[in-house]
């Protein structure tokens, strides 16, 4: 079983809807949590970076971390066709300074 699980999708939503993405993990030592967006054949782009539990909002994006449930979420409000991409969650422990553990990614399609 992988340390980080993510539903591969595809997740199809109409333009303007809220996109809801999530990851579960098994290692309770994970403390830092990230969400990346990756367009086809491009490198991942950092969207959100959070530490420990709680919520963080940045524009149309909201990241939530629930460490008690080992569950993280990303919400995208007012989705646009340009949001169509693969979304990757990533996380690391406090003492693993460089090694990010990624989920497999969820493909999102926003239809006009």
């Amino acid at each position: 079983q992988k340390e980080v699980e993510q539903d591969p999708g595809p997740l199809s939503v109409p333009e303007g809807a809220i996109v809801s993405l999530n990851c579960t993990y098994s290692n309770s030592a994970f403390q830092y949590f990230m969400w990346y967006r990756q367009y086809s054949r491009k490198g991942p782009e950092l969207l959100m970076y959070t530490y420990s539990s709680g919520n963080k909002e940045d524009g149309r994006f909201t990241a939530q971390v629930d460490k008690s449930s080992k569950y993280i979420s990303l919400f995208i409000r007012d989705s646009q066709p340009s949001d169509s991409a693969t979304y990757l969650c990533a996380m690391r422990t406090t003492d693993s300074w460089g090694k990010l553990q990624f989920g497999a990614g969820t493909q999102v399609v926003v239809t006009p």
Partner: protein, 113 residues
């Protein structure tokens, strides 16, 4: 400012050949990371450098893979005796220091025939 750059963007080679992949980090970033991403999977950690030294190389799959960063800036990932299973996207990232947010380059797509 300029982001992380990687060259070449695509590399096609034959089984058994040697390849070098280059990464130019964001100026001023002291930490540099290499990942490998297969189709439909998330990036998989290979190695990271803090300055010139490899701080964690636990992700290198075997001794055919080697990476250097001699002056603490540009890094080269070297793969000897390439195998078809090495075909993947090789991603480089950098951060201000180890542990900070990692910013990725566009990747090098390696195809081993």
């Amino acid at each position: 400012g300029a982001g992380v750059s990687q060259t070449p963007s695509n590399k096609v080679t034959e089984k058994g050949k040697y390849v070098e992949l280059r990464c130019d980090p964001i100026s001023g970033h002291t930490a540099l990371y290499w990942y490998r991403q297969s189709l439909g999977q998330g990036p998989e950690f290979l190695i990271y450098f803090q300055g010139t030294g490899a701080a964690d190389d636990s992700g290198l799959p075997n001794d055919r893979f080697f990476a250097v960063r001699p002056e603490g800036s540009v890094s080269t990932l070297k793969i000897q005796r390439t195998e078809r299973g090495d075909s993947a996207m090789y991603l480089c990232a950098s951060s201000l220091q180890a542990g900070n947010e990692q910013f990725f380059g566009p990747g090098t797509r390696l195809t081993v025939l």
